[in-house]
């Protein structure tokens, strides 16, 4: 362990990935890519939590990350089911054209 990696490097990495995900959500207009960007943001939060867990010396952050992964799986399943229903009824995934709650 000659060259330790400081905690702040991990926090910066997590922040960078989170911002990339947020910009993806704001700029892209394909519904699937937006879902992927959300997964990216959840992953960035996981990095931050695990880094803090390492700093604190206990496992709470890692357990919380596991719960986040489970919630991400649930979100992906429901989100993709919604995408399929949306595509079958509207024939498009461009969220510029999906602007009504009911049709």
């Amino acid at each position: 362990m000659s060259a330790e990696v400081p905690l702040s490097y991990y926090l910066i990495l997590g922040a960078l990935l989170f911002i990339i995900g947020a910009v993806g959500v704001l700029t892209r207009r394909h519904a699937l890519v937006i879902l992927m960007s959300i997964e990216l943001m959840l992953n960035a939060v996981n990095i931050t939590l695990v880094a803090f867990s390492r700093m604190q010396g206990n496992l709470t952050g890692q357990v919380f990350s596991l719960f986040i992964i489970a919630v991400a799986a649930a979100e992906a399943a429901v989100g993709l089911a919604i995408v399929i229903v949306l595509f079958n009824s509207r024939e498009t995934l461009n969220i510029d054209e999906i602007n009504l709650m009911k049709w």
Binding site: L11, F18, V23, T27, N43, M55, V63, A70, V85, L93
Partner: protein
Amino acid sequence: MEQFFFFLFAAGAVISALLVISRRNVMHCALFLVLTFFFVAAIFVLLKAEFLAAVQVLVYAGAIMVLFTFVIFLVHIPRTEKIRQTFRQKNLALALGLLLGLEVAYILYGTMAAPASLPAAAPVGAVGNTESFGVALFTRFLFPFEVVSVLLLAAMIGAIVLAKKEIDR
């Protein structure tokens, strides 16, 4: 050595994340997202969270991305690649992203004063990451664990109901 690998994996994660949000073809986005997940799993290994790294590869790179790939195959229409991929308010969105970046940088600047390096010892000691993780999960965090299982069950039923309605129609 550890720093070298950290920068390798961090650069890989950031570059493939940038490719995820900039590629035109949705399938390429999904594949670069898998690459990002693998790099993040490597970062977890560096942080001595081996169990989470395995879960990351199994659940994210395995299950979730297979789901994404299936949906891409189901809904893929080639003409969607021809249309413009971004909103008209792209510049505004980029400005907002920059603002978010500045805020995060400001907060992170405050944490620089905190103790710079991580404790050299792994949080768990001799028992091993997976074993102590399991003990923590099934003793202290048993109730949240059960709640998450109910959540997963609800999501599964919800996904099936949503997709089934489509077949009936």
